[in-house]
Symmetry: C2
Subunit: 208 residues, 2 copies
DNA sequence: GTCTATACAGCGATAGAC
DNA sequence: GTCTATCGCTGTATAGAC
């Protein structure tokens, strides 16, 4: 495995499906996504991205006219990659509990790269984002919640999952718990802290 | 109730104990805390704070030499206020479940002012903060976790609370769930979303 | 304790050559 | 598609008067 493909899979673990066309724009997004997920959208500059790529700032403007355009593209790509990962978890007749574990594992994978969930980060900065980015962040969470609802309903139907509230309310709790556990784990540089919270969450949802 | 005291109680609900000495430095912190909790530390400038106070930028530098000093003071004051609120919840022989509900209510009060938890916001920006601020953020969460552990142990001892993991692991899940539910609720401008997640969380911890 | 004035670095963005 | 050069603005911070 070449250094580059190792680097890519570290950044894009959810859809790494073999031979990847890595256009200049894609490489910009790769670097930007990594920086934004670590430091936040407002703390990342064109200069930062250009420096890591070894190009000049105007080269970035050629691909993304304004910073807001770059940000929107970032979310779009992240959301579609995340969505593909969720679809993959639905394959065959995977048990609801297994799908839930897979969902938590997606978050853990991000945290282990010392990154925050891109949309969790952007949710914190929400009030300072351009409107298109705000809408895209909201859509991301809505899609996650919808997917979780189907898993929860399946699990309640076949008796493998148990929970007190409605599926949407429980889905909101699951997303919140995982995003928040990531958020709090990072200051402690402690992935075990996240795992403990996630395991605890799943244990509470598993039928005895 | 004067407009000013109304404003103060909206910003400082946790320790509003009557006649308040409102030195210039305190007023700077009031405005800064509100702005940072809404927009993030990196998205708030001396100019923003000075404008809301109706003073000049150098006036702020007189009270807080650098932005890092202001940020550290912000966390210190927030943490001590939060700590006092937790101590208040321990009064008399309050039931563990009631203390837990009170804890969640503290978060809800912040969200209803359309703010993020100050330290939750700073956790997102963690990688970009000066070291003293990073340490203070970590201490805040550690203190919260310690307090929750005592509540959880009390509740397990008297049989009013039930949970699968250890008290520290469960405490990490509770903090994560509440911080994350706030984080995700803000893009939806929807406090009901937070309440649902919090109620769901507490229901899972309450002994049947 | 607050002001005016200013220094200086960094930001996003554009013009125009290649 | 990428470069050099540069613009206008905003950021934190300081000097010195009052």
């Amino acid at each position: 495995m070449s250094p580059r493909s190792a680097g890519r899979s570290a950044i894009l673990p959810m859809t790494h499906t073999g031979p990847v066309r890595s256009s200049s724009a894609e490489r910009v997004l790769d670097v930007a996504e990594n920086l934004v997920a670590q430091r936040g959208f407002n703390a990342v500059s064109y200069a930062d991205i250009a420096a890591q790529l070894g190009v000049s700032k105007p080269a970035l403007h050629y691909h993304f006219a304004g910073k807001g355009d770059l940000g929107s593209a970032l979310i779009t790509r992240y959301a579609s990659r995340f969505g593909a990962a969720l679809t993959a978890l639905d394959a065959a007749g995977t048990a609801p509990q297994t799908r839930l574990e897979g969902y938590a594992a997606l978050y853990l994978a991000v945290l282990e790269e010392d990154r925050m969930c891109l949309c969790g980060m952007l949710a914190a900065e929400y009030r300072t984002l351009p409107t298109p980015m705000q809408d895209a962040v909201r859509d991301f969470f809505a899609a996650n919640e919808a997917w979780l609802c189907t898993v929860l309903r399946d699990g309640r139907a076949d008796g493998t999952l148990q929970f007190h509230g409605s599926p949407p309310d429980t889905a909101a709790m699951i997303i919140g718990c995982l995003e928040g556990a990531m958020l709090v784990a990072r200051p402690f540089h402690d992935t075990a802290r996240f795992k403990a919270a996630a395991d605890n969450l799943l244990a509470g949802l598993t039928a005895a």
